[in-house]
């Protein structure tokens, strides 16, 4: 059964870039599918954070996914994945500049992606300040993972 799922996943992966991805892995080829192809998948194409998702799942951080990363992504985004795991990856996704903290610039980017930049800069500023004020428990002006997890674990909608 698992094998079946795996095969299906791999065929999806293969379809993304038929000329890049070999069908047999006997000699362990090192192939990666570029980000542009991944984010055009129907599952991701409407997602405002698609680039970030792909980037945070790629091992090198450049958005190109090997098959392992690809499987990784699917397993985390699947509904079987537990909340804690999702929280960790959500943190990574929202952490735009990968400094292990969600700082104000990350929040601004998130907000602009979520609202398609329909808010005025003052509004964005207000919201970001409010977010930090709400969730930042240690008062360093940015959200560490502990803050993030504390906040997200109480969110009623965080089920995905």
């Amino acid at each position: 059964m698992f094998l079946l799922v795996f095969c299906r996943l791999h065929s999806r992966y293969h379809e993304l870039a038929p000329n890049l991805v070999p069908m047999d892995y006997t000699n362990d080829p090192d192939c990666k599918v570029p980000m542009q192809l991944i984010i055009n998948m129907p599952e991701l194409t409407e997602n405002p954070f698609k680039e970030r998702i792909v980037e945070s799942f790629s091992e090198a951080g450049d958005g190109n996914l090997s098959f392992n990363d690809f499987v990784d992504m699917f397993s985390v985004l699947s509904e079987m994945a537990p909340r804690e795991l999702k929280a960790i990856y959500a943190f990574k996704i929202y952490d735009f500049n990968t400094d292990n903290f969600i700082c104000k610039s990350d929040l601004e980017q998130t907000l602009n992606k979520l609202t398609r930049e329909e808010l005025t800069p003052e509004e964005v500023n207000l919201v970001c300040e409010k977010v930090i004020e709400e969730a930042d428990l240690d008062g360093d002006g940015k959200l560490a993972f502990a803050d993030f997890e504390n906040m997200i674990s109480r969110a009623p909608d965080f089920l995905r």
């Binding site: 409407e46 951080g61 960790i88 292990n100 979520l114 969110a155 909608d157």
Partner: protein
């Protein structure tokens, strides 16, 4: 321990009927038996000779190990290891050691020893073994569980070891108990690891490595330990779980798709905010309630009358009078609900006062009254229940939560969206919800000159009271005038419809006036909406009551007229019969029903008034929407190309959705329905149609030609304010209806209650005729003062019930809040004390970060983490690793971890594992290596030996 019991039972069942004397073998302790046993064990553990070989050296230490084990192991979950303990015993060497064992130990061993004597053949040996143990157990229930598990184990082993004969010869390959125990533990751990693999925040590469490791390990030893079936079961379980989740999701989707107009409302909500959506939700709720009312009314009154009652034209009340017949089918007549409409099933007057109709003896008049009362009863119940549940809801959820913006920011996107249209809606709704939040936040931050604002508010209220009084007087004036007009016949269209026109005009003019006055007050838009609603409600209330008083005047006039007509009809009938009897002896032919003189039937008149009002209200609403919103939008949109100024952002612009007006229109309309439904049963049907069409019409209009409010604000989650207004109007409309039912005499020649002095006499009649006599006696005492007192009592009771429900809801929410605060405090404390618990996760996170060349952008810890994975990236991490044995939750380097895990089974075991420490916290991703726990140096001995 249900499992144990089960096994025991099974064993019992298997062994029933076979008798074996245990006394013979009792206490006969010899080497042969034990050797046999050892052999058996050897067979079973044949697949892992390596571990066994090593074990032999440590045999000496076993007694102690066993001892420690006996005392230490209490936990039921350990039973698998436990049962290993006494069995792998080498007789000769152990004998002296055994003597030192505790009583319990020896008792425990007895069955084993006993049994082994019986046979050199294993198969023969097994059964008696079980049997005896069983017997033993019965005797002393002390070691029941242990024995049970032993039995089970043995059986399993027997099954699993197929080739028994070949390996029995090898003497040296046996496993020590501690070894076995550890192995079991290890396998369990690995299995746990495999099943939890997806929960670990590792890169796939590392996950694969760990998985392969664990799987190969489990495979190797699982067969040995007789647990081969586990994996298939696990796979099956996972599959079922997946299917179940999918089913649940589909079911949820199905449920959501069953909610009528959910999509429409969500779409409106995403573009116009929750405040506009709250109107549509309210509308939907009203539709649901009216559908029930419609069902009751039509099912119990209208349809029985149509099916079983007398047909049209059979009696005077069901026939259009001769004088009106010429124009009865004209459109203008029908439009005024006169002519055929008036003498139809839609109105009160059509119903006959026959006590029972049809074959079923359906008591229509009684049903009519009951439906009239039941309409109110049901509405009251529904409104109050909804209010109570809403109050409960609004208390419990996180409307003013600590993480309002955070949650909006991080959890609002739905990752399942794959459709661009849905995505657009979602973007819009997220933006809207942010705007709502921002408005709230700005309101919170605002503080200005409080005196000025107070003055302005007083001024605004003064102005509004003035205009309310003015409009009230205007209505009163118009109604008075219309009463004068009623006696005259030379009236134009305007004079005829003056009241409706004035009321509609007031409804059009006053709300915008109030709104502009309310701008002075500078309330938060949500509060401003409530004020606005209250004021317009007062206006409508004035309208309603003036209308009602006018109606009562009319009714009183009609009653006076009726009295004279009643005498006239009696006289006319007598004359008719007298004429005939004078001429012939035959029975006189009945008067044609169209020619009978009849009374004005005030009930039908009242019904017609209400229906007319409702219909004109519908017209006004729809035309307003069409002109005020749609036409305006069309003009603004298309004339903008050739106009001097920018129409879209300039003067006319697009209309906004008028929440207060629409909500009040709905409430007011519902009041009309409640009041009119008794006199015009068809009104409920009209209302259902109206609500249905306005759902589609208004949602279309709002999406096509309105723009969102300038300040989109969040509706209060429960629309209890709307419900409160509805409840108020329900009480208000209850009063006149109850009054008429209780006090006014029904018309003598129309309606189901004709011939009675009061409408509720029908109840008395039913009690007298259909119930046993004593019930009638009781009721005659009770109901004499009228039913008004019980009605009032009922209302009071309902009010109390409501208040009670609300207070309970508040209590609940208070408790909830307290709990929340408590939690927060605890968490605060935990956070200070428990920095480490998050550390491991942080490290995993770090591990997940992309390996980057050093950019300079990266912060220091990340650099460390990325440059060399094997080096301790942070000080605490390094400490963890060094003291890895002591720290449970700490994550060790993957490679090292793996090696530890592999090597463990071959480590010399000097001491039995102690009781298991509290398991790893569920949230902590970790790979617990069992061998590390509480065991010191001996572990390290075996490390590094190549396997096979």
């Amino acid at each position: 321990m249900p499992r144990h019991n089960k096994t025991q039972l099974e064993i019992k069942m298997e062994d029933v009927g076979i008798e074996i004397d245990e006394q013979v073998e009792h206490n006969s302790d010899d080497d042969a038996g034990r050797r046999g046993k050892t052999n058996r064990r050897q067979q079973n553990h044949k697949p892992s000779p390596a571990g066994v070989r090593k074990n032999r050296n440590n045999n000496r230490s076993q007694p102690q190990a066993r001892n420690g084990r006996r005392t230490a192991v209490e936990d039921d979950s350990e039973d698998e290891e436990e049962d290993e303990a006494p069995k792998p015993r080498r007789g000769n060497r152990k004998k002296p050691a055994k003597a030192q064992d505790s009583d319990e130990e020896s008792e425990d061993e007895q069955p084993n020893r006993k049994t082994n004597k019986k046979g050199g053949n294993q198969k023969q040996k097994e059964e008696p073994n079980n049997k005896e143990k069983q017997a033993d157990k019965k005797g002393k229930g002390k070691d029941k569980d242990k024995d049970d598990s032993k039995d089970k184990k043995k059986k399993k082993r027997k099954d699993s070891s197929s080739s028994s004969s070949s390996s029995s010869s090898s003497d040296d390959d046996s496993m020590s108990e501690g070894e076995m125990a550890k192995l079991m533990e290890e396998v369990e751990e690995k299995k746990k690891l495999v099943s939890n693999m997806r929960n670990k925040p590792w890169r796939m590469k590392r996950r694969l490595a760990a998985l392969k490791e664990a799987q190969s390990f489990v495979e190797k030893f699982e067969g040995a330990l007789g647990k081969g079936k586990g994996r298939r079961l696990f796979a099956y379980k996972v599959m079922m779980r997946k299917k179940w989740i999918k089913f649940q999701r589909d079911f949820d989707n199905f449920k959501t798709s069953c909610i009528p107009w959910e999509r429409k409302i969500k779409e409106v909500e995403s573009h116009f905010g929750s405040s506009v959506a709250s109107y549509f939700i309210f509308l939907r709720w009203m539709y649901g309630m009216n559908l029930v009312l419609f069902g009751i009314t039509f099912g119990l009154v209208v349809i029985p009358e149509v099916l079983m009652g007398l047909p049209y034209g059979s009696i005077p009340r069901k026939t259009v009078p001769r004088a009106e017949q010429a124009k009865a089918m004209d459109f203008s007549t029908l439009w005024d609900f006169d002519g055929y409409c008036k003498y139809s099933v839609l109105f009160y007057g059509y119903y006959n006062n026959q006590r029972t109709i049809g074959l079923l003896k359906f008591r229509l008049p009684l049903a009519y009254l009951m439906v009239g009362i039941g309409t109110f009863g049901y509405s009251l119940m529904v409104v109050i229940r909804t209010m109570a549940s809403n109050a409960n809801e609004s208390g419990g959820d996180g409307e003013d939560s600590d993480f309002l913006f955070c949650w909006k920011m991080f959890t609002s996107w739905d990752y399942l969206i794959g459709n661009s249209e849905t995505a657009d809606n979602k973007f819009a709704s997220i933006t809207t919800s942010f705007k709502e939040g921002i408005v709230d936040e700005e309101e919170n931050q605002k503080d200005e000159n409080i005196h000025l604002r107070r003055f302005l508010r007083v001024l605004a209220n003064f102005l509004i009271i003035c205009s309310l009084g003015g409009s009230g007087y205007l209505i009163y004036f118009v109604v008075k005038r219309s009463q004068d007009f009623a006696t005259r016949n030379d009236l134009g269209w305007y004079e005829k419809n003056e009241v409706e026109i004035v009321m509609s005009l007031l409804g059009l003019v006053c709300p915008p006036l109030f709104e502009s006055i309310a701008e002075l007050e500078e309330y938060h838009p949500r509060i401003a909406l409530k004020w606005q609603l209250g004021r317009i409600f007062a206006l409508f209330l004035g309208n309603l009551y003036t209308f009602l008083f006018a109606l009562f005047d009319e009714v009183n006039q009609k009653l006076a007229v009726e009295e004279s007509i009643k005498n006239a009809t009696i006289w006319a009938t007598q004359m008719h019969y007298a004429n005939f009897t004078g001429n012939t002896s035959a029975t006189p032919p009945p008067i044609d029903p169209a020619d009978v003189i009849r009374g004005p039937c005030w009930e039908t008149t009242v019904g017609i008034e209400f229906v007319k009002l409702t219909v004109s209200d519908i017209q006004v609403t729809y035309i307003t929407i069409l002109v005020g919103d749609f036409l305006r939008a069309v003009i603004v949109r298309f004339l903008n190309y050739c106009w001097c100024w920018d129409l879209e952002s300039g003067f006319p612009s697009y209309g906004e959705f008028d929440i207060s007006g629409n909500v009040l229109g709905l409430v007011f309309n519902q009041g009309m329905i409640w009041m009119g439904a008794f006199y015009a049963p068809g009104l409920v049907g009209i209302n259902v149609l109206r609500l249905l069409t306005s759902m589609y019409y208004q949602s279309w209009a709002v999406m096509s030609s309105n723009v969102p409010h300038e300040r989109i604000f969040k509706a209060s989650k429960s629309n209890n304010f709307y419900m409160g207004l509805l409840l108020l109007i329900l009480f208000l409309s209850l009063l006149p209806v109850v009054y008429t039912i209780m006090t006014l005499p029904p018309s003598f020649d129309c309606g189901p209650f004709s011939g009675k002095s009061k409408m509720f006499d029908i109840i008395m009649e039913t009690i007298e005729l259909d119930f046993p006599a004593f019930v009638g006696n009781i009721f005659s005492y009770v109901a004499n003062p009228g039913l008004i007192i019980p009605a009032v009592l009922l209302m009071v009771w309902l009010a109390i019930y409501y208040l009670n429900a609300v207070s309970k809801a508040y209590e609940n929410s208070n408790l909830e809040l307290k709990k929340k605060m408590q939690m927060q405090r605890d968490e605060e404390k935990n956070r200070r004390n428990n920095q480490d618990s998050t550390n491991s996760i942080m490290k995993d996170l770090e591990d997940l970060l992309p390996i980057k060349s050093e950019d300079g952008n990266n912060t220091a810890p990340e650099n460390k983490a990325s440059t060399n994975k094997n080096d301790p990236p942070k000080a605490p991490k390094g400490a963890d690793k060094q003291g890895g044995a002591s720290r449970n939750g700490s994550r060790v380097n993957p490679e090292k971890e793996m090696s530890l895990a592999v090597q463990n089974p071959r480590i010399a075991v000097t001491r039995p594992p102690g009781p298991r420490p509290p398991g790893p916290l569920p949230g902590n991703p970790q790979l617990t290596v069992p061998g590390q726990r509480g065991r010191g140096p001996p572990q390290r001995v075996g490390r590094g030996q190549p396997r096979h």
